[in-house]
């Protein structure tokens, strides 16, 4: 079946704009993760959903970041009033559930804030 998809693949925003990044996980995957990856760095955990429940949002860097997964499938990461330091690749991953460790990653959305 299809893998994890993310859209848009590239997003350029002016500082202060709001952006919304979408993640379509693998069908049937219970767990969904968002990561932020700065250039030359490893992914940094942002938040984790189990079905529609956001069980961990400890990695969200500020209250400008908000994620939702209202029907336990597609997820949206929203960043309000974007700042230049928000420029990064945002990765989404999913897996079959908390008993499974391997994560399946999407290609990411590269966000550039001017």
């Amino acid at each position: 079946g299809a893998g994890v998809s993310q859209s848009p693949r590239y997003k350029v925003a002016k500082r202060g704009q709001d952006v919304a990044l979408r993640c379509d996980p693998i069908s049937g995957h219970v767990s969904l993760f968002w990561y932020q990856q700065a250039l030359g760095q490893g992914p940094e955990f942002l938040t984790y959903f189990q079905n529609e429940a956001q069980l961990d949002k400890s990695g969200l860097p500020s209250d400008r970041f908000f994620a939702e997964r209202p029907e336990g499938s597609v997820s949206t990461l929203k960043i309000q009033r974007t700042q230049q330091e928000d420029s990064a690749v945002y990765l989404c991953a999913s897996n079959e559930g908390p008993a499974y460790n391997e994560q399946f990653f999407g290609p990411g959305t590269r966000l550039t804030v001017l």
Binding site: F33, F45, L55, L91, N101, F105
Partner: protein
């Protein structure tokens, strides 16, 4: 902040040589995984080793884990140009699903 630290940060070898990358971490873990990332792509899972395991093999990959030293190593034997990528270790504490990635090793395999 990232728990894992890979070294070296960058590694350049000739095709056919072996590549060894190391990962160190700070707190106790349940599992340790290695992922590969090709430029501009998402991460691909390579191998998982549990905290009660010491060594694991998968094809040309060999992973070791030393929980007393809080370190792991990834060995790629008989490297190929297609192995050129960044390699990351990721640790988790178990059920909480909070995965922590290191900064990665950038491997270049020259033909």
């Amino acid at each position: 902040s990232q728990q894992g630290e890979e070294d070296p940060q960058a590694l350049s070898i000739q095709e056919g040589e072996n590549a060894t990358m190391n990962c160190s971490y700070k707190t106790s873990i349940n599992n340790l995984q290695w992922y590969r990332q090709n430029s501009g792509r998402g991460l691909v899972h390579l191998i998982l080793i549990r905290s009660n395991e010491r060594e694991k093999h998968s094809g040309r990959l060999r992973v070791t884990l030393d929980t007393s030293k809080k370190s792991s190593s990834l060995l790629i034997t008989a490297s190929r140009a297609a192995d050129t990528a960044s390699y990351f270790c990721a640790t988790d504490r178990g059920y909480g699903q909070n995965f922590v990635f290191g900064p990665g090793t950038r491997l270049s395999v020259l033909p």
